[in-house]
Symmetry: C2
Subunit: 206 residues, 2 copies
């Protein structure tokens, strides 16, 4: 997006770009209309995230919003009437944010060890990863989505990790479905939601 | 707090406890009424934060809210009419959350090295810490508080770190005031706000 806002949206009067972190960005995209992927380095040079110089970045009306989960909250707040992602109840909101934070701090780090480490470190990572996703499966309860009847904030926070499940199983030589069958069913279900399905198939992975 | 909610509030009908992380908790306390500090281990055993088993934890109407910044957002949402901590504008909200996240990820980690490391590691930590707080000072602009005219979400997120400034200066042998005079003035100003001043003086540090 140029510094002078371009209003290219079809359904809402915004100009928006989300850079990389493709699955999470694509999930968010369901709430918005105008998406273009440009050369990341060039955009970073053009001050979209001068502090951390990392992606994803969402640009809306010429202003940068950074950090994946902050972007999702922003989308929820700006387009609540179109696509609410967090419930209205403060406690339910806090719970969704807590589990999203849990994924970032307690599940992503050990998941790296499942495919990138060996020996004891890999085994420790595998155990911590499985422990973490089991807690998340418990939080799902008998709901189709973490958001309840519809896909919401925590689903969006978790789905990028689900996309790696096959990689973890291949490198870690274990079955996530055997450990967390409800969670695998959730991932398959979520991947078939219109919000996900419409957009992810056209994504080019970097 | 017991599992059966006790309604001991004076001004609002809630029962609340915030455990440790004393400065941040005390800042939050300005918005609420009923505060008791109990034995942490006992509370943790009693399921206030069975997932992470760490503090702070806020208990409101028998339900646990965990993670410092999530607690502050919860307080803002529940008692917005009494003590709004985030602005209504989604972009301003996203900015405050971004900088709070920046403090957690980019300023706290190097700050540990200022007082706990030696040699090159300490020097690297000192440089990263100063770079980080300079960016924050820039974000303060000419406002009295990060929240603008009143103390808000980002002030609350940053003040616990300000409380360590003297320690960093002592161990790191440098002057934060020489590097960031506006930031030190902000810290002194914020420490004199009623929200802070009323409560922090009665705090017992662990």
């Amino acid at each position: 997006m140029d510094d002078n806002s371009e209003h290219g949206g079809v359904h809402v009067d915004v100009d928006i770009e989300i850079l990389d972190d493709p699955l999470r960005s694509e999930m968010v995209r369901g709430a918005i209309t105008h998406f273009r992927k440009r050369d990341t380095d060039s955009l970073l040079e053009r001050r979209v995230n001068p502090v951390q110089k990392k992606i994803p970045v969402l640009i809306h009306n010429g202003k940068s919003v950074c950090e994946s989960l902050i972007i999702v909250e922003y989308i929820d707040e700006v387009w609540k009437d179109r696509c609410p992602l967090l419930l209205a109840d403060p406690y339910q909101r806090a719970k969704a944010k807590f589990w999203a934070d849990f994924i970032d701090k307690m599940v992503y780090p050990p998941s790296d060890k499942v495919w990138a480490a060996n020996g004891e470190e890999e085994e420790g990572g595998k155990k911590a990863f499985i422990d973490g996703i089991k807690l998340l499966e418990g939080e799902l309860k008998s709901n189709p989505y973490f958001g309840g009847e519809t896909l919401g904030f925590l689903d969006i926070a978790f789905l990028p990790l689900y996309y790696w499940f096959h990689t973890f199983e291949t490198f870690g030589k274990f079955s996530i479905e055997a450990e967390c069958p409800k969670l695998v069913a959730w991932g398959e279900r979520s991947s078939c939601t219109p919000l996900y399905h419409t957009h992810i198939r056209s994504m080019t992975w970097r």
